[in-house]
Structure formats: structure tokens, C-alpha cells
Symmetry: C2
Subunit: 284 residues, 2 copies
């Protein structure tokens, strides 16, 4: 879909919402047990399939798996034959988003895919899948592959967590499964996620799907997520926003930053972020 | 990818496994706490990216959301402007797979997406998403939309559950979230899923991703899953099998049925299936 005008209707594409009719006349039933955003949204992002609304206090920036082994030359991802340049284009844009979110006082959460040194949290199916030449836990120039604490498993320097930013160590593709991610979001009243990282169709998509089922509103920043495969990048983004936003919204970083800029005055520069609670490497 | 020869290598596509090297020389670490298949696989399906192995006693056929409102003319899906014929091609092929799986004694599990009449299990975000002209819970010719117990919410007659086949009622796209699906699989020693139903990129994909993170091996039957959008169907299947099978395997129903035929003699025709435990409409 055209990022330059993400709200333009496209009647013949999957992005054209099946839900393209006028607003409903029927009343919306109340949903007493489901989570409700903590406050009315105060900012609006030009997004597909329609504007994404958020507030500073109920929204988190989520940076998924920007780990050395996935995005740096010489890492595990490249050793498997993948073109890491497809992912590295994300870094400078995402670094700007990260800096602006920090300045605005938005909660920032990082995730890392990896396993305990004894691999007790790694399903045999994951170890064996694909009959790989290098398996999880094997030695590599960046340390044991996808093992927590090893160099290759850690986040790239350009996007490194600072104090107060939770880091979710996850054994799967989704950030909710077998982690504290959902609890951390609930404790802080987060209902909306601005999702970034790699790869678009794998860990980003899986996390957005989990979040969507749990009632979160997700905005995926199209130039802050990356895939090794251009078609998966394009179609993966289209799948998010299709059918009236079946999984959520997509927008370029510039659209989000424009909306954020109108909100940033609510944060006092130099003030400790609201979220300085968790050690940056232990959550999850 | 070519369904006629799903195991053929395609070096320039995402389906070409990054993991295309010889088997590893390093030992595979043991994983004491992770689930292990209950027996050695006894059948092999010609699949992408490589053969899918299974046994009758550790494998279930999963039929996702083959509900009237999604696949029948005059239902909710069609009323939203979707072409249900894109999904209905699945029915005859899946009906044959279902019959053969029943004859072979394979566990069959159905899922349905929907909500309690008071909508207490429906996130506000899901109700409001897309500003639809018809919302979940609204009246329609098939009863209240996506409400459990209504006609439109139920499974199409061609694939209707029989006694002993659990039916998972799920509030989200994934079959694991907020349901008993994972418990039912664990109790019966199921480690492998043959996944079918609709839609490919939404509920099928989300369920496969959840299953994969939990250590299940998933085979998606390419002609037994359907999408309203042909590109999402094609690319959705490619995403499953890419990178050495990052989410699982894909194969046409014929390949699975060939492998199943070699196994069917282990079941005594007329014998009650092993799995006749649950009421067909209450699980989940």
C-alpha cells in the first residue's frame, strides 16, 4: 500500500477494509471484564487503514529482537545465507524513533529471542528444525548461538537499552509466550504498542498477533521493521492492516514522530521516565 | 512454491532454507524439560521444506473456524464484501481429509472464533476495530454475529464435529489463547498438528505460530486452508515453510493422505476412536 497516503482507500486490495461502511447505528455493547485504555487518546497518527490514536501514558514502544546475530555482518543470520543489509536499513530510522520516544517519556521495551545455556527452554522441535548446519547453542564467532549472555544474542549498540527499559528474553517468536511481557504491560497500564524490529513476518508478526488477541492496539512502523525477504516485508505489512485493521495499523516512522511531537511537551526534559522500574536485562 | 514437488530446492526464494547445509556434526544438547514426541514417527509426508514425519498417536487434525458466517453465502463474511468462494474450495478436499482421519483413528479437533452472549470475553479493541457497519453481537440473518450458540457461529454441515471430537471456542485468532486447546493436546500426548481451515493468514497462521513456539510440529495442508485474498494465500503458505521451516511444513492434502493410507491399517474399522472423551461442543 502507498506509505505516502496510507489512509487512501484501495477498493480492490486486501487493505480496502471489508468494513468500509459508515459508522454503526447500533449501540456497542459494554465489555465489563475486558481491558480498557486508561485515558482518552490524545494523539493521532496518519496510518493504514485509518488513523491510530494513542496517549503517552498508555502506549509503549516495543523493539523486537534487534540482536547482533540477526542484523550484523558476520553474525548467525548472515552465516545462514541471509542478507543482513535488508534488516540494517531499519537501524538509523529506529534509532531516531527510540531517541524521540525516550525524550517524550514513552515506555520503551526491548525483546531478545534466545535460550538458557542448558537449552532447557528450547523445544526439541526448534533445535532440530531445518536440519541446520549450525544449531542453537553451538559455538560461533559471537559466542554460543542464541544463548542468553553471549555477544551475538545481545542488542545492537545503536539501540541498546538504558536503565528503566525492560528487556524481555523470550524463547519463541512471540513476546507474550513464556515471558513477563503481558504482566509488565498490564502493571503499567499499557494498552497500545508501537511495534518495531525484526523480522517483520516472523517475530514482529507473531507478537502483534498475540497482542491483538489480548486486546492491545498495535501500530507497526513500516520502515522500522525488516525482513530478509522483500515480498514478505511488503505482504507482511499488508496483512496487518487488511480487512479494516484485522491485526492493527501500519505507518511510516515519520507519521508517528509527527504525532509524537505534538505530545512531547507533556514530558519535562531531564525528568526520569515514568517507567524506570526494571533492570534492563532481567525482565522476561 | 510448486506444490507438485514441494521438496525441490529453490535457491533464490525464501523457501530455500538458510539451513540447507549437511546435517550437523556437533551433538544436539538434550532438553530435559521440553516436550518430546511420545513415539518415533512412522509416516512421512512429501512436504516443503522437507518431509514431515508423524505417527497416528501423537498427531491431531485441527480444523480452524470452518464456520457458516465465514464460508457460506449470505453470512457475515460475505456481507462485509468478501468473496466466500475463495474459501469454499477448501470444503470438499477437507471433507475427504476429515473422513480419512476419522477412519484412521486420528484425533480431530475443531475450533470456532466467537464470543459469549454478553461479550465479556471480547476486547473493546476487537469490537471497535475498523469502524464496521456490523459489529460482533449485532443481529444478522444467521443470528447475532460471532456469538456462541448462534447459527452463523457454528461449523458448516459438511465438516460438522462428531462425538469425541473436541471443539475449541476461542475469543481470538489463535487457538491457544484463552482456551483449553494446549491442555487438551498435552493430555493426549499430541506433539504434531495437521492444520486446516480459514483463513490462512489470520487464524491458521496465528494458531500455527502459537503451536510452533510451544514445540509442536505443524503441517499446513495447502489446499485445505483458504484466504479471501489470493496473494495472502500464496505468501502465507510460503512464510510457513521459509528459512528451513521456520513455522512448520506445507503440503497438499494428497501428500498427507498418501502417508496416512500407509498408516490406516493400525486402526480397526468401526472401533471407537481413541479420543472419544469430550463433548463436541463444550471444550474450549
Amino acid at each position: 500500500m502507498p506509505e505516502t497516503d496510507p489512509t487512501a482507500p484501495e477498493p480492490s486490495s486486501p487493505s480496502a477494509p471489508a468494513f468500509s461502511s459508515p459508522p454503526p447505528s447500533a449501540p456497542v455493547p459494554s465489555s465489563p471484564s475486558a481491558p480498557v485504555p486508561s485515558s482518552a487518546p490524545s494523539a493521532s497518527v496518519a496510518a493504514a487503514p485509518y488513523p491510530f490514536e494513542f496517549s503517552l501514558d498508555d502506549t509503549a514502544l516495543v523493539i523486537i529482537d534487534m540482536q547482533r546475530d540477526f542484523v550484523e555482518p558476520g553474525g548467525f543470520g548472515e552465516s545462514l545465507g541471509n542478507d543482513v543489509d535488508q534488516l540494517r536499513t531499519v537501524i538509523p530510522v529506529l534509532a531516531e524513533v527510540l531517541e524521540k520516544c525516550r525524550s517524550a517519556g514513552l515506555l520503551v521495551i526491548h525483546t531478545r529471542e534466545g535460550h538458557l545455556p542448558d537449552l532447557s527452554d528450547c523445544p526439541p522441535s526448534k533445535l532440530a528444525r531445518g536440519n541446520p548446519s549450525q544449531r542453537i547453542g553451538d559455538p560461533s564467532p559471537n559466542g554460543r548461538i542464541l544463548i542468553r549472555g553471549e555477544k551475538g544474542h545481545d542488542i545492537v549498540p545503536e539501540l541498546y537499552p538504558i536503565d528503566g527499559e525492560p528487556v524481555i528474553d523470550k524463547p519463541g517468536k512471540g513476546a507474550f509466550y513464556a515471558t513477563d511481557f503481558g504482566s509488565i504491560l498490564a502493571e503499567r497500564g499499557i494498552r497500545r504498542l508501537v511495534v518495531t524490529g525484526v523480522t517483520t513476518e516472523v517475530c514482529v508478526h507473531t507478537t502483534v498477533r498475540e497482542a491483538n488477541d489480548r486486546g492491545f492496539e498495535c501500530l507497526v512502523l513500516s520502515d522500522c521493521v525488516g525482513s530478509y525477504f522483500p515480498e514478505f516485508q511488503r505482504v507482511g505489512l499488508e496483512m496487518i492492516a487488511a480487512q479494516g485493521g484485522i491485526f492493527g495499523w501500519t505507518a511510516p516512522a515519520s507519521a508517528f514522530l509527527s504525532a509524537l511531537a505534538g505530545q512531547a511537551h507533556t514530558h519535562v526534559p531531564g525528568q526520569q521516565p515514568l517507567t524506570a522500574l526494571a533492570d534492563p536485562v532481567r525482565a522476561g
